[in-house]
Symmetry: C2
Subunit: 151 residues, 2 copies
Amino acid sequence: MKKQMVWVLSLAVVVLLTGAAFAQFAKTEDAVKYRQSAMFLIGQHFTRMGAVVKGEAPYDKEAFEKNAVLVESLYRLPLEAFLVPGSDKGSGMKAEALSQKDKFAQMHKATEAELAKLVAAAKGGDMNAIKPQFGAAGGSCKACHDAYRSK
Amino acid sequence: MKKQMVWVLSLAVVVLLTGAAFAQFAKTEDAVKYRQSAMFLIGQHFTRMGAVVKGEAPYDKEAFEKNAVLVESLYRLPLEAFLVPGSDKGSGMKAEALSQKDKFAQMHKATEAELAKLVAAAKGGDMNAIKPQFGAAGGSCKACHDAYRSK
């Protein structure tokens, strides 16, 4: 445990994919902003791992593991926003993400599995296992972005 | 358990308040965006509880509890961004938030305690206990916003 850590919290986050009472947005723009906010946070923590994997930042097992756990956790958050009709408008999400919900859900599930494996590799602490799994997770993200993100 | 729930996940989210290896931002603007993203997500889930407390939305114990847990969890996320020098610039955060770190940390801790009590009240499911605690949590948020938010 590092001295500079003030506190480390272990929180149980219960996330619901759908559920009308939970998935309310006052405006469609809020659904877009919700998704983008979560995606930004995910991107931040994923990029931090990327820097380590590329050798641009030193490997710190604890920090790497926390980033992996955060990405996996945050990955669940934006999902409800994807389901809001019209939330592709004025955003970087293609309309196909809403019209091809089954394929979209399938790709989402695949990424979810890769992120879980990344957390496991991060916990293991072996960079020879982490590197290929980071690549697999990134590839899964990219496949969905290529299919459903317009920019 | 509602049928419309596809899956409910309980995730352990480990959040670190400080720690250099973890708190990297490529640009100061990213620290601002990080904080704003987390605050937006918190605001969304807090507002959903507010609608129930005000009687504008029906009370659903499960959904209310999830919102409370999410707010409490997300509340930990943006903290590292508050510590970035210069992250008050171009944002709605007053410079005093950085120069009065002790007072700021104290107010943060107070809100944290109120949110924990809100989660407990939400789990209890008694609206007569939830309402005043939601008010106390909101009041604690507001006190810090009044002191350190310029808009």
